[in-house]
Amino acid sequence: MADVFNWQLGRDMQYPYQAERPARQIAWIFDTNKCIACQTCTVACKSTWTSGTGQEYMLWNNVETKPFGFFPTGWDVELLNLLGPAKWEGGVSTGNTVFESAPAGERVNGWLPTSEHWAHPNIGEDEPSGPVERGTYIDKLPHDTWFSYLARICNHCTYPACLAACPRQAIYKRPEDGIVLVDQERCRGYQECVAACPYKKVMFNNESRVSEKCIACFPKIEQGIQPQCVTSCIGRIRIASFISAPETVNPQSPIDFLVKVRKVALPLYPQAGTEPNVYYIPPMHAPREYLRQMFGPNVDEAVETYQQIAADDELLGLMMLFGSTERIMHSFAVKDGIATGYDEDGTELVSVPLREPTFIREYFDEVHNTYRQNIT
């Protein structure tokens, strides 16, 4: 075991290998407030990568409904059971990670889902947290009765549990962009990675008898294009770009701005200790206690900053740039009501207005003597 720094935990932690951060790390922001669980991302991923025999229940991308949806079934419940309640003191995790809590003889504290766990990809869809009584209306945040959507892909973790668990080093993290891959030539199908991943994003191919996982659409990323799940998102909830190393903050970088400057985007179950690189803007209508469990102690600050977005031109501008270009946006700027995204060379990719011009019509249409359903 080596001591490595995990900035999401605010401390060093134990990991089987020495820290070796990639030259740059691919990262994602998902705005859960805008997701409608249409599963376009899921279908885009599946039709691109996992249409083969043996991949029937393999969803590298899935969108689940919280609190009662999960794929595989109960993945997060099991993780929380294994780790116990998260403990944070002054922004520092004092609990044990999946590496530090590994039982004797194990590399990672994990569990192996059965075929039954993988058999219900959309279980719990749109199930609210409790019964909705007749006459119920919602007039405050967070909502008393709620559900929210959680889109999930491989987190391409800085300290992958899958990589740590593989006894034959068939999983590697690319030094050029931090993408985590299962070597399809070297894997012998032991499924140690499936058991180890706290997010259950490595899956076993029943036909090929090897493990497979999200490849971050690396052929696209190598050409400066965002992955399929990002470019297909009709709700424009996603962006993929690069995050700076922990000690560096680049306020022009879309990822750094949201994660490190405004701090509205948070890692999922950071206490697991893998330093995941998908960051979520938490759903502001969900109970804070539940969100703290999912995203750690900085949830309140994140949600409150996000709720002030109308008065924050930079934040608003960047959110308007989500889904506005297929290319990877390395930097952005907001000026005079226009947000502009740039590629790696500083060439403009796209410009969008912060506020779309809107025309509001009267509710009552006098010509047709009826009320309008849509007035904007």
Binding site: T50, S51, G52, T53, G54, Q55, E56, A104, G105, E106, R107, L112, P113, T114, S115, W118, A165, P167, R168, Q169, Q184, E185, R186, C187, R188, G189, Y190, Q191, E192, V194, M203, F204, N205, N206, E207, S208, R209, V210, E212
Partner: protein
């Protein structure tokens, strides 16, 4: 007997036949009375051999139920939990295997049997297959670490898997065998033809032996230089056959005595080392989660 290794003082793994017999006699430390007793008992039940001898024969039967095998005395090998390298095997589920060996001057074969209440021959999510492996030092006269070899101490491993046996006997097993009710409306090969659909099977395209669809042998030749380094040999020469009897496995693993470069080359008259590993898939055994046995002497009859 030919014993070139006997004359090599710095090759302790290559123990001569004579030194074995001496050792066996010494361990017995018996007088005439007891020797007579053993002689009488041999009339009803043969005494277990003191070490593994590959007896010379004419034809080596591939069928593990063949009398050419079952007539031979079994050599019992106590198995150990693999708890040297993580992940460990959680429990000793195969405490012992029994081994027999034959050679005919060209091929050498090992007959291994062990108790197992259930046949696990499906390789699928959270389901693992039974398996057994034989390990030999690539240099039969040299010492190799029992930990699947070490740097500059390569070992030649021959692994038989129940899933591969099913592939050979029944044709490549797949998702339809693991999950008979699986529905797949249009696999890529039905839409775009076999060649174009290959892109959806990266392990097949990468030549991963786990994904082999044209398997003719249930045994793979592998090379290792330490835990985690197991690599399939480019030239496959091992063969075998495993049969599940209802309460256990009987498996034959065969290999040429002279199987080619980078693999163990044996010849009649020498004594080398042999080690074993066994997996019970139903108990979650796979990879490092296995039972293993330390090196034992293997004598190849002249």
């Amino acid at each position: 007997m030919t014993s070139e290794h006997e004359q090599t003082p710095d090759a302790p793994q290559a123990v001569s036949r004579r030194s074995f017999l001496t050792k066996a006699a010494g361990a017995a430390a018996v007088g005439t009375t007891l020797a007579v007793g053993i002689g009488l008992r041999e009339l009803t039940r043969p005494e277990p051999p003191t070490h593994l001898v590959a007896h010379r024969t004419g034809t080596i039967p591939l069928d593990p139920e063949d009398r050419g095998w079952t007539r031979l005395a079994k050599w019992p090998v106590p198995m150990l939990l693999q708890n040297l390298a993580t992940p460990f095997a959680p429990a000793l589920v195969v405490p012992e295997i029994s081994v027999r060996a034959l050679h005919n001057g060209e091929q050498i074969a090992f007959h291994i049997e062990w108790d197992d209440a259930a046949e696990d021959s499906i390789d699928a999510m959270a389901r693992f297959r039974d398996a057994v492996a034989v390990q030999l030092p690539v240099d039969p006269a040299a010492t190799a670490a029992v930990t699947m070899g070490a740097t500059n101490q390569p070992v030649h491993i021959m692994q038989w898997r129940a899933a591969w046996q099913a592939d050979v006997d029944l044709g490549r097993r797949g998702v339809k065998d693991a999950f008979p009710n699986m529905y797949h409306d249009a696999p890529p090969e039905a839409l775009m033809g076999e060649e174009a659909a290959r892109q959806f099977y990266p392990a097949v395209v990468a030549g991963n032996p786990m994904a082999r669809r044209d398997r003719t042998s249930p045994v793979d030749d592998l090379i290792a230089v330490g835990f985690g380094s197991l690599t399939t040999h480019e030239e496959q020469t091992a063969n075998g056959r495993g049969v599940f009897s209802g309460n256990g496995w009987r498996v034959v693993i065969t290999t040429p005595l002279q199987p080619g470069a980078d693999k163990t080359r044996l010849s009649p008259g020498i004594t080398t080392s042999i080690a074993f590993a066994v997996w019970n898939g139903g108990a979650g055994n796979r990879g490092a989660r296995k039972q293993w046995a330390n090196w034992s002497p293997l004598e190849i009859e002249t």
